[in-house]
Amino acid sequence: MSVGVGVSLLGTFIILRRMALVGDALSHVALPGIALASIYKFNPFIGAVALLLFAVLAITFLERHSNLPIDALVGVFFTASLGIGALLSPSSESLLEALFGDIRDLNIIDAEIAVVVGVLVVVATLILFRDFTHLTLSRELAHSEGVAVERTELIFLFLLAIMIAIGIRIIGTLLIGALVIIPASVAKNISVSLRGMAVISVIVGIVTVVVGSTIAASFQLVPGPVITVVAAVFFLLSLLVRRS
C-alpha cells in the first residue's frame, strides 16, 4: 500500500513530464546488475539498484552534455543493457524472473523494504513537490525561482530508480508500471488543478491496490495482473467522467 501511495504520487510528475514509458524502459537497465548478482551470488536487489543509479547518473550527465532528450538517452541505455543482460544471464528463465517479480513471493524483509521505500518516496515527493512542479513546468522559470534544477532532476530520477528497483524484485515490473502510470492518468483526466491531480492519483492508487488485492484473494488469482486490470477499469471510468 505504501508503495502504491509513493508511486502514484511520483507518477503525477512522470505523467506530466510525458515519461510514462521511461520507467518501464529503465527497469531493463537493471538486468546486467541482476545477471551479475546471479553469477557472483550476491543480492540481486543490490545489483539492480547499483546499475540503475549508474544509469541515472550517466543519463543526467549525458543530458547536460549532449543535445539528446532524456527519453532517447534512456532508450540507448535500455537497449544496451537488455543486450548485455541477455548475454550475462545464465538462462532465459532467470531473465524472465528478473523482469517479472511476483508479489506472492514477498517475504517479511522484502515487505519491510517496500514499506520503507514507499514512505521515503512519499516524504521526498511532498518535500520537493514545488521544485518538481517547477522543473516539470519550465526549467527556465525554475531557475528564476531559485530551484537547483540539476540537483532536483537528479533526485527525481533517483526516486524513480529506487522505485523501479523495488518493482523489479518485489512487486513486479508490470504492477509498478501500472501503479506509476494509471492512477496519475486517471487523475489527470478528471482533475481541475495540480493539487487535485496529486490527491486523486494517490486515492486511486490506494483504492486500486485494495480492490485488486481483495478480488485476487477472493478468486485465488495472481494479484499483480488483477490490480492492473482494476486500474485500467478506473481509467475507462475516468474517460467517461471527463466526457460528461
Binding site: L16, R18, R130, T133, S138, H143, S144, S193, R195, G196
Partner: protein, 235 residues
C-alpha cells in the same frame, strides 16, 4: 549601490558567439532597457543573468536579489493542470501550497488585479489566451517582493491600450519599491519614457547610458541598419 557587475561576458552556443565581451554595471534602482535587432542576444543576456546559460567572463552579484522574471514566450505543456492560483502558490512553497491561508489568497488576487486578471485565479494556465497569459505572468513577476525584475518584452501579445498601462504600472512599482529592472523592449517610446538607462545590444554593447544622450539617429541606424526609423519623445 552596485547590484551586479558584468565583465567580459561572452556566450557561445555551438560555434556561434551570441554575446561577445559585454561589460556593464547595474546599480540598485536602475531601470534599464535592452534594445537591439532580432538575434542581438537580448533574451540570451537575461537568461545568462538568470543563471540558465553557461558563459565566460565574470558576473559579480553584490547582493543576491529575489528575481521576478517574465519570459518573452512561455513554453509549457498546455495540458498541465496547474491553476493560476497554484502558479502563484508555488512561489511561496511549503505547506501553504496545499492549504493556502485566506491572507495569501487575497494577496494573490491583489497581485492579479495589477494587470486586471483577478477573475482568472481558478483557471488552468493552459486554458488562457496568450494575452491573458502574459498579464498573469507580469503579475507573477511582481508577486513575492522581488528586488530585481527581468522582463523580456513583457507586453508581447497584449493589446496596445493595455500596454502603456502595464509600463506605467511597472514604473510606478519600480519607483515605489526601489526595484531594479532590466527590460527588453522593441518600443523606443517605451525606452524614452520609462528607462533611466539603455543598453544597445548587437552581440556586443553598441551603447550604454541615458537614452536621450546615447540614442542618436546615427547610433540607431548602425544598430538596426539602414532604414531604421527614429522618433524621439521629448518628455
Amino acid at each position: 549601490m552596485k547590484l551586479v557587475e558584468v565583465k567580459d561576458l561572452s556566450v557561445t552556443i555551438g560555434k556561434t558567439t551570441v554575446l561577445d565581451h559585454l561589460s556593464f554595471t547595474v546599480e540598485e534602482g536602475d531601470v534599464i532597457a535592452i534594445i537591439g535587432p532580432n538575434g542581438a542576444g537580448k533574451t540570451m543576456l537575461l537568461r545568462t543573468l538568470l543563471g540558465t546559460i553557461p558563459y565566460e567572463g565574470k558576473i559579480t552579484w553584490h547582493k543576491v536579489p529575489v528575481i521576478g522574471y517574465v519570459p518573452q514566450r512561455f513554453h509549457f505543456d498546455h495540458t498541465f493542470p496547474l491553476t493560476v492560483e497554484e502558479l502563484f502558490l508555488m512561489k511561496k512553497g511549503g505547506p501553504s501550497f496545499w492549504l493556502p491561508a485566506d491572507d495569501l489568497r487575497s494577496d494573490i488576487k491583489k497581485a492579479l488585479s495589477h494587470t486586471e486578471v483577478e477573475n482568472l485565479a481558478q483557471r488552468k494556465i493552459g486554458d488562457l489566451s496568450s494575452g491573458q497569459m502574459q498579464r498573469v505572468f507580469i503579475a507573477y513577476g511582481l508577486f513575492g517582493s522581488p528586488e530585481l525584475l527581468l522582463f523580456d518584452e513583457p507586453t508581447a501579445g497584449i493589446d496596445i491600450g493595455a500596454e502603456m498601462n502595464v509600463y506605467s504600472l511597472l514604473k510606478e512599482i519600480a519607483q515605489e519599491l526601489n526595484l531594479t529592472m532590466l527590460l527588453v523592449s522593441h518600443e523606443l517610446s517605451v525606452v524614452y519614457t520609462y528607462a533611466k538607462k539603455v543598453i544597445c545590444l548587437n552581440k556586443t554593447i553598441a551603447c550604454f547610458g541615458e537614452p536621450k544622450k546615447v540614442l542618436t539617429p546615427e547610433q540607431l541606424q548602425s544598430l538596426y541598419g539602414v532604414g531604421a526609423d527614429f522618433y524621439r519623445h521629448d518628455h
